[in-house]
Amino acid sequence: MAERGHGTYIDIPVQYGEGVIVAGPGQTIRKVIVCRPEDGGGGAAVPEHIVAERDSVTELCIAVLPGVNADFPIAVDITGSGASVRISGFYICGADESVKFCIRVNHRCPGSVSEQLFKGIAGGVSSVSFDGCITVAPGADGTEAFQECHNILVSDEARVRIEPQLEIYADDVKCSHGATTGRLGEEELFYMRSRGIPDTEARVLRIISFLSPVIAFAGTEGEGLAAEAEAAVRRVVGGNV
């Protein structure tokens, strides 16, 4: 296994198991998956393995609404130059949910792009964990790989654990990761209230704005998702989950 800082790259060939999604040369795949408790969580639709071949475009957006327990391991193998993979998601937890993402992106060839953007709200006694590992293989020069995971805690008991990891074995790459977990600022809330925005509205506005880049990414397939997310945020902020 590779160790941080001075690892050795071990080349394990791509395994094409059951349920693998392959974005063939030049192909575009877009998937928006909304996980609602009434659909049994909807997690079955989330692919465990994606292979991105030459010049393909893969866009995956996962929305996890309150009341869903989720455990999503997703492995991404980028095998062809010019491929791009965007995975984004948001989760809204307000009760005792457990939401886990474990995303492994392997850049196996030169000149490909991956982007991950995850945003979440953790309230109640929920727990969120996000493991994200980006590996850039030897010779995979020109790779651009970005990973962001940002969270807002809305209760004292909720827990968020984020573990970003970069393993880079090529020289000419652009890679970054960002991870934050914080609370809504009291100064911000007072500022909004001083303009006549009620406390609850101020919190909802701030959280929806925080999630909106991911909601926007869901695009047309996500129609109605914005309203659904807003209603969910309202329930979590109001403690009615």
Binding site: E186, E187, Y191, M192, E201, L205
Partner: protein, 248 residues
């Protein structure tokens, strides 16, 4: 109501157990602009924070009536709906929230409190544009996140813009002149002056004479050690500038 908008009686307020306001009395009538001047640490910003209802401050004694209502019993949003506006000394950045969204939410909250339905989109945008021109803000301003990446001058102009949008009865300008260059100062002052009227009043809190060259006050107070120690007409500004605060 004999024209009295704000009546502060024997106000004491503290933060973190430290008393900052120590027996403050102040009366403001409709149509008046009052300047509150004082040295650093006199309690100027505490006064504005207490009037706006900032949660960190505790009022330990005294009363504040705003248009006949008990201001201290009202939440910050209720104070805003009632017509009170605070222009912040340090406007707060709200990442992710666009100006247009922020203002629309604020305006609609005011309308809801007044028993009105939400404002029409076209009407609202017209109103935004008009008030933006008022403080010389560019069109892109509507899409920017509230105060994020704004220069010092833009932040203060944004405060005056919001004031114009919400059309308050009593405006409190907390050191609105700090960090402003002459041009921004003039824009801000013109904005404030345009909003003067027989039904309205303003409290201009400042260290320096500068802003008061543009916004000429009716009454000037010296605030020191948490109390108003001297009150006079606009001629007091020049006296303070000449002699400082020590002899009050």
């Amino acid at each position: 109501m004999d024209g009295i908008l704000l009546k502060i009686n024997g106000l004491h307020a503290s933060i973190g157990g430290r008393e900052i306001i120590r027996g403050l009395d102040l009366e403001i009538r409709a149509g008046e602009v009052h300047a509150v001047m004082g040295p650093n640490g006199a309690g100027k910003s505490t006064l504005s924070a207490v009037l706006a209802g900032k949660p960190d401050y505790t009022v330990t004694a005294g009363t504040v009536e705003f248009m006949g209502r008990d201001l201290l019993a009202m939440s910050p949003e209720e104070r805003s709906w009632a017509g009170l506006f605070l222009s912040f000394q340090y406007p707060v950045e709200i990442p992710g929230v666009s100006m247009v969204n922020f203002m629309k939410t604020a305006v609609n909250a005011h309308r809801k409190a007044a028993g009105l339905g939400p404002v029409k989109a076209s009407e609202f945008l017209g109103m935004m544009r008009e008030k933006m021109a008022f403080v010389q803000m560019k069109d892109e301003f509507t899409k920017r996140e509230v105060n994020v990446g704004f220069s010092g001058g833009e932040k203060k102009r944004n405060e005056i813009f919001q004031m114009a949008m919400l059309d308050p009865v009593l405006s409190i300008l907390d050191e609105t002149d700090s960090g402003l260059d002459v041009d921004a100062l003039r824009i801000v002052a013109e904005g404030v002056n345009a909003m003067r009227g027989p039904e309205k009043a303003a409290i201009v809190i400042t260290h320096y004479q500068r802003l008061l060259d543009y916004i000429v006050p009716d009454v000037v107070h010296v605030l020191k050690e948490g109390r108003i120690v001297h009150t006079a007409g606009k001629e007091l500004v020049a006296e303070i500038e000449e002699k400082g605060y020590d002899h009050f």
